[in-house]
């Protein structure tokens, strides 16, 4: 018996070893084969131009193409614009890394020497710069008959710059400078030959005044809700977009007596700097439905964006510009919320960097849309004093105990007495279960929470938007992680459960 067992054992071991060795050999050959097939893509032989679109996109417009030389062709203008932007981009990168890389492609021999001098000097002094430009307004002076030289003025270039010494940010500055530029066409590249600062021309463009009075008045009476459809939480404009469901939800919201919803636009979902027109169409549809159901919409931009780095400012600007210009005339639009809880990124991304980005974005959106107020959805009343002078109204979130709310709010009111203050997010999860050791609130306690909050809000006349309409079946891991003891809570913030039954709190939240 023992021998028999041994035999079987040996046999098994032998067969298993045989298979394992074979598997290893095949894997080895496979790896070698795969290695042989890696390397440069075959198309790289063609030296095709690498599109620069996704790294640097400041706003550049030509205001004048009349010149005594040669009529400017569309194709040539595109190439000049492209290479001029590339010249700025490689210079920004060169000063960031104090590295000469790319300079020779976009500066002629004598111009690049000047840049190299700067780089060498900065390298020696151990200082470096993060730079970007925001706006260029170019006006053509001359284009030669053979199309190989061009001179133009680039007026009122808005430049943003952070000066670093070692790893320390010394200071940031923004200025507006005008340049005159000569570029030569060499080896198929338009290269900068001369770059000279010139006095800024007198700006005669009339700037339309902002008019946000009626929207601010509406904001003071917000009774609203943060909205995601129940089956596509954190993904309103995703594959599951269904306008009938949204319409039903908006009717429910309207019947509750609420007047405003807050929706979220994700930076990557909407296509970064090249905003997807299909997504824009969906956004317009949501606004249309809101209009039909008498709801105002507060749009939160840049959800799930968290870089803020100077090097991709221009990309975020193009993103916001497209969205703002697409819907700024929509009657259902109430205001722009630039970013949800950016103060949570202060630690990981440096406060200066986040604030700098927000400051610029506020300025931009105010310039693009003259009729809608701008705000930032800070995660706490304490954080919301940041940039209070720049926003049109203050938005803050509050998820702590209701009893301490009034204190926090009073402090905020004392600090910023003049601007309207909106409690943009608050709420309580009705999850009480294994993952929080039965310590959370149940539906009854949720009701108590809301009863208390609503009475405070009513008494103090604070505009509010609670979180949220539905309990969610799915919560993406990017919101609260994938660990159940962290994310479970997120599923139960609704006043309706996952199949649409009213939870006890629903009644308190209904104004009618």
């Amino acid at each position: 018996m023992a021998i028999k067992l041994n035999k079987a054992l040996y046999r098994t071991i032998l067969i298993a070893t045989f298979i394992a060795i074979n598997a290893l050999i095949i894997f080895g050959i496979g790896s070698a084969w795969a290695f042989m097939n890696t390397g440069a893509d075959k198309t790289s032989m063609l030296h095709l131009e690498v599109p620069m679109e996704d790294v640097y996109k400041p706003n550049m417009k030509w205001v004048n193409l009349e010149n005594p030389g040669r009529p400017m062709e569309k194709q040539a203008l595109g190439e000049i614009t492209n290479d001029y932007m590339n010249a700025w981009h490689v210079r920004n990168i060169a000063y960031k890394k104090n590295d000469r890389y790319g300079i020779e492609d976009f500066y002629t021999d004598s111009a690049r020497v000047r840049l190299y001098d700067h780089i060498d000097l900065n390298l020696k002094n151990n200082n470096w710069y993060k730079r970007t430009t925001l706006n260029h307004t170019a006006s053509l002076d001359f284009y030669t008959a053979d199309g190989t030289m061009v001179v133009f003025k680039d007026c009122n270039v808005e430049e943003y710059q952070e000066t670093y010494e070692g790893k320390k940010l010394l200071f940031k500055e923004k200025d507006t400078t005008s340049y005159q530029v000569m570029m030569l066409l060499e080896d198929g590249f338009w290269r900068i030959r001369h770059l000279k600062e010139i006095p800024a021309p007198i700006d005669t463009t009339k700037i339309e005044k902002r008019n946000i009075k009626d929207k601010i008045k509406k904001i003071e009476t917000i009774k609203g809700i943060n909205y995601y459809p129940k089956d596509s939480s954190w993904d309103t404009f995703g594959k599951k977009f269904n306008d009938t469901i949204i319409k039903q939800d908006f009717k429910i919201i309207n019947n509750m007596g609420l007047n405003t919803i807050r929706i979220f636009i994700q930076y990557e979902d909407f296509g970064k700097n090249n905003v997807n027109p299909k997504k824009l169409a969906l956004l317009k549809k949501v606004l249309d439905i809101a209009q039909e159901t008498n709801l105002d919409v507060l749009i939160t931009l840049f959800d799930f964006y968290g870089d803020y780095d100077v090097s991709n400012w221009t990309l975020t600007h193009r993103h916001a510009e497209t969205i703002v210009n697409a819907v700024k005339h929509h009657p259902a639009l109430l205001a722009w919320d630039i970013k949800n809880e950016p103060d949570l990124d202060f630690e990981s991304r440096e406060k200066q960097r986040v604030i700098g980005w927000l400051e610029q974005m506020i300025e931009n959106i105010k310039a693009w849309d003259k009729h809608h107020p701008v705000t930032i959805g800070w995660s706490s009343p304490e954080a919301s004093v940041e940039l209070a002078n720049n926003v049109d109204f203050i938005s803050f979130h509050y998820y702590r105990e209701p009893s301490k709310f009034i204190d926090a709010y009073s402090t905020l009111r004392a600090t910023i007495p003049t601007k309207p203050k909106v409690l943009q997010e608050y709420g309580m999860s009705s999850y009480k279960g294994l993952w929080n050791f039965y310590r959370g609130a149940d539906e009854q306690e949720q009701l108590e929470y809301y009863t208390e909050m609503q009475s405070i809000l009513k008494q103090e006349k604070i505009p509010y938007m609670f979180w949220t309409l539905y309990d969610f079946k799915n919560v993406p891991s990017s919101v609260a992680g994938s660990l159940p003891w962290k994310s479970k809570k997120q599923h139960f913030f609704g006043c309706l459960d996952t199949i649409g039954n009213k939870k006890p709190a629903f009644k308190v939240l209904s104004v009618n």
Binding site: G69, R91, Y95, S110, A111, R114, L115, D117, H118, L121, N122, N125, N127, Y129, D141, F142, T144, A145, D146, T148, M149, V151, Q161, T163, E165, L170, F171, E173, T177, Y179, Q180, M182, R193, H194, L195, K196, E197, I198, I406, D407, S410, T411, A414, T415
Partner: protein, 412 residues
Amino acid sequence: MYFRLSIVFYIIILGCSSKKEQQPTQKNAPKIELLSKKNNFVAGDSITLLFKTEASNYNIKLQVKNAYGNTLLSPSKKENNQILFSLPKNYTRLAGPCRWKVLYNKEILLHGKLDIKTNTSKATYIESYFGPRSVTAGYNDYSMLTISPTDFYDNPLDDGTEVTVKYQFLENITELKITTQNFFSFYNVRSTLKSGRILVTSECNGTTSKELTTIVYPSNATNFSIQASSAHNYADGNQILTFTSDVIKDEFGNTVSNGTLVTFIIKNENNAHLYTIGTTLNGIVEAKTLHPDKASNWEVQAFVTGAAESNTIEYTFKSAIKDYPVTFSKGNRNIDIGPFESFMKQLVPDGILLKLDIYDKDGKFIETKKTTTKNGVCTIFLGEHFLPQGDYILKLEAAGISKEFKKNIHGN
């Protein structure tokens, strides 16, 4: 009560805290004063900025900025409550505004602007571009000369700088003065009526540029005439017929550029078109083609595509071969044709085409056979497996002469 107290408390705290934030700047903001009075410089001057401040503030920094970039400078000298910054060469040598900011603990204490002018006294360099490098003669075309003078430090000279342009064509030398604007000045050198070379040069502040050239090419060809010539006019399929033109000129009398392509179109008596091409040399084009192998009547015209055409000439070929003998043998299966004799009874050159059409006795077409002459003769053999025994009509055609035979083919 507690609520109100807490509000008051918070207000006090806030009041304090906001003051606290402001105080350090008021208290610690170092006093600093610019002692250097000079604001205007010429590129290449050494530039220093002297500030008066307390000794405790020696870690003040200066950020300088020009069109090309920024640099953070540390004082080069600190003594007697004074600090001195010397601007590096890449700032002192670039004409234009140079902005400076005095930095202390992330604060800008002072800022200002220096004005650096171009340095015209030291030397002037000229970069000139001339293009396009070729133009066509006439009234419409021109080459543009752009002159971008710079100073010793490669700064473009100020607008309004005078530049002398000189250009030469044949015996004429023209000189004129223009002024710079937007970094450069330009002059359009108009094309001439005669073809040739235009040389240009320019001068600014005593510096002359290199010599630049544009070539004036003749304009488009105008109509011309052609002739044809050959050793004889017999259609022997061997001799070469040569077409030549007279000198082709443009509307201004310039001989067209060498290599101008001319196409000769030949139309024969069957309205079929043949063509041959040639390119001009010194205005004359020469093109060649082979004589036909039978009597023909050609009409020839030449074209410079899109520009000019020639007169039409005619050329007539006489038949070179008058007749040829045909011999049948081996049960009429073997056909010997020839010898073909040309106009002097010489054997024709190899390669005269012969065509044999075979019909059965009812005139139904069966087959065509083709062959060419070699040493003046050719042979066709109609094998047994190809044509069974029987009566056939055989039609021969060569050098434009047709012959018909009715033969009984038999044997093997």
